[in-house]
């Protein structure tokens, strides 16, 4: 290892010595050609937790893994709209690969991509692709199913509160997967959902969590970005699942585990594919299997056998042995929605607009 390091150092020294003989412009051009330049566009500030933080973690992991083959820049807090077009265009002028990490960047990305055919674009959570625009997203719902299994064992009141953002398929998938897991271990438990119509409004998230706790929920799950629901659970002495990033520190007693998104492997693979010219404008929808969905550390409050069962489900999902949306699945009114043995395809999952049995209340349409 040491020798290797030394050799690299010698090589670098040689390059540096050689470079000094060249003109300044030549050095700059040389450096630009050597490294793959990767840029990221973030919707929020990086901060220390949440959606954007997760993407930045992925970026750093990519840098670690690919070492001096890549270099990266990012622009944070870019609002979705005209600003995004401006920022992406500016980045496209000096980068080879650009990740745009929010749904609202879909059209801006496509617009800029048309003008820069040589630059590769990867857009998160969108559905429109083109010659040089690929899309990617994570099967968040797989982790939700695992949290559901745990919730079924941990609840006393048999009521679980779920703080939802917007009633869109992405969120409904999570609620359904969670409820299927919950019912697997506890057929009597029900899920109450409260929509706050925002991705990020800590006060409203907290109010929603408190309203649910007031109505008997002893576990809070969330599909919003702030740790406010976990904080509310901590204060009220009930349990909670975090989301996106490990939220243990916001509720050390309340936090059980959470479904985490992990982009590092994907970003590394995409950067590699550009380096060896195998990049394609494909759509990747990865789950536990692809390393995109992981579980936050399990709380000590969860009994060992429950953790073991959860871990088994996790590995079974990864290996394909367990399919979450496989019949028989009952709809809310008790009728069979998915017949026994039938598996929902991705299109059906992506347009999910119905609740499974066990979810209370009507899904706003």
């Amino acid at each position: 290892m040491k020798i290797f390091l030394k050799r690299t150092w010698l090589k670098r020294a040689a390059v540096a010595a050689f470079s000094t003989l060249m003109s300044t412009t030549a050095i700059m051009a040389g450096a630009a050609e050597d490294k793959l330049k990767v840029a990221f566009v973030y919707v929020g500030p990086v901060g220390e937790a949440g959606w954007t933080y997760g993407h930045d973690e992925g970026r750093r992991e990519m840098l670690d893994k690919l070492g001096d083959k890549v270099e990266s820049t990012y622009v944070e807090s870019v609002s979705e709209g005209a600003d995004a077009v401006r920022v992406i265009r500016k980045l496209a002028k000096s980068n080879d690969l650009i990740f745009t990490t929010s749904f609202g960047y879909m059209n801006p990305t496509l617009k800029v991509a048309k003008q820069f055919p040589k630059v590769k674009f990867n857009h998160a959570t969108g559905y429109k692709r083109s010659k040089n625009v690929a899309t990617y997203a994570a099967r968040f719902y797989e982790g939700r199913y695992v949290t559901g299994l745990i919730a079924g064992e941990m609840t006393q009141s048999n009521v679980i509160g779920y703080v939802g953002s917007f009633p869109i398929p992405e969120v409904v998938q999570g609620i359904n997967a969670f409820t299927l897991g919950l019912r697997e271990t506890n057929p009597d438990a029900v899920v109450k959902v409260v929509w706050i119509n925002s991705w990020y409004d800590p006060a409203k998230e907290r109010e929603a969590a408190e309203a649910l706790i007031a109505q008997g929920a002893d576990i809070i799950n969330q599909h919003t970005d702030s740790p406010a629901p976990v904080q509310a659970a901590q204060d009220k002495g009930v349990l909670a699942f975090g989301y996106d990033t490990d939220m243990t520190r916001f509720g050390p007693d309340a936090h059980l585990t959470g479904s985490l998104v992990h982009w590092g492997d994907y970003y590394t693979d995409v950067a590699k594919s550009v380096l060896n010219n195998s990049w394609t404008a494909e759509d990747v929808w990865g789950g536990i299997n692809a390393g995109m969905v992981k579980m936050a550390p399990y709380s000590k409050k969860i009994p060992a056998d429950v953790v073991a069962a959860a871990e088994k489900a996790r590995t079974d999902i990864a290996s394909g042995e367990l399919t979450i949306f496989e019949g028989p699945i009952k709809a809310q009114d008790g009728s069979i929605k998915v017949a026994s043995g039938v598996k929902l395809n991705d299109g059906e999952i992506l347009s999910m607009n119905w609740y499974v049995d066990g979810v209370e209340g009507e899904l706003p349409q």
């Binding site: 990086v46 409004d201 800590p202 006060a203 109010e207 408190e210 706790i213 109505q215 929920a217 406010a228």
Partner: protein
């Protein structure tokens, strides 16, 4: 609805009404002196971010609360130097203050997004908190909720019983007559504006230190505007500010509670309740022109030109 649910809802109502109460209280005093400051949202955000940064850095929550109030005052002084010092249009200046505060708070708070903080803990008042129902609803809150109620009572007494209270009202009704009897119009307005700033800062700090102990960009989510509506709703009466704050607080949590109960009312629609209520009050008030003239401070929003 069982009794536990009702207590919980009432408890949450008081909590979510508290930031509105604080901000509206400050704005009522400000408007009673004849100054309309639409910068509440910006001042709240600055109070929230400053309070949070100071609390995280020093580990002292009280210091954070004070810093939040100071930040609100600083913002209001900026407003004052423009609207009172240079006699700019108050509406435009207030709007600018909101835009400025929103941007500046996001800028200074960037490094603090997502940092954990143990917020202000609830303080059950001995004896009183043991009263069934009422004790749980009223006396198990965090200290800032009690502070808000005390400040409200003091402000009410100030206008009801004190001479300076009358001075503020006189300045807001007719600054020219106030000058002619020797009242320092601008000084009174400066003080009222600063009080408004301090309350807005405190309301913001309440959000970032007690309600949801964290900082995020734009976390007040329009509460400054609701507070402004609340002032009109309360028709500039201190007692009605309390009533309105609790009513608006109830409206903001009720749609969440109803959803949890499985009611199929659109949550978007329910979320508009505070604004609808304000419109209804405005309609009732304006049905009688002399009535609204009785209620609103006569010289509200008009810059004061001293004739001396």
């Amino acid at each position: 609805m069982d009794i536990d649910l009702i207590t919980n809802v009432l408890f949450a109502m008081i909590r979510s009404g508290t930031p509105l109460l604080l901000v509206a209280l400050g704005e009522v005093v400000c408007e009673k002196s004849g100054v309309l400051n639409l910068g509440q949202e910006g001042m709240m955000l600055m109070g929230a971010v400053t309070g949070f940064i100071v609390s995280v850095s020093t580990g002292n929550l009280l210091l954070g609360v004070i810093a939040g109030m100071m930040a609100g005052v600083a913002m209001s002084l900026l407003f004052g130097s423009l609207a009172l010092g240079l006699r700019t249009n108050q509406v435009a200046t207030g709007l600018a203050l909101t835009i400025f505060g929103t941007g500046l708070s996001a800028f200074v708070g960037t490094d603090y997004v997502g940092k954990p903080l143990a917020g202000i803990a609830p303080l059950a008042i001995p004896l009183l908190s043991d009263i069934p129902l009422l004790g749980t609803v009223l006396f198990r809150h965090d200290p800032l909720v009690y502070t808000a109620l005390i400040l409200l009572t003091l402000t009410w007494a100030f206008f009801r019983f004190s001479r300076p209270g009358l001075m503020v009202k006189a300045v807001g009704e007719n600054p020219d007559s106030a000058t002619s009897i020797g009242l320092p119009v601008l000084t009174v307005r400066w003080l009222a504006v600063s009080f408004g700033g301090a309350m807005a800062g405190l309301g913001g700090a309440y959000l970032s230190l007690a309600y949801t102990p964290l900082w995020s960009e734009g976390m007040t989510a329009g509460r400054g505007w609701i507070a402004l509506a609340l002032v009109v709703f309360a028709s500039w009466r201190i007692g009605r500010v309390l009533l309105g704050a609790w009513l608006f607080g109830l409206a903001s949590i009720m749609h969440l509670v109803l959803q949890g109960m499985g009611a199929s009312i659109s949550s978007n629609l329910l979320a508009t309740l505070p604004y609808l209520a304000t419109i209804v009050v405005l309609v009732i008030l304006s049905s009688n022109q002399s009535k609204i003239r009785m209620m609103a401070p006569m010289s509200l929003g008009k810059p004061f030109h001293s004739r001396m």
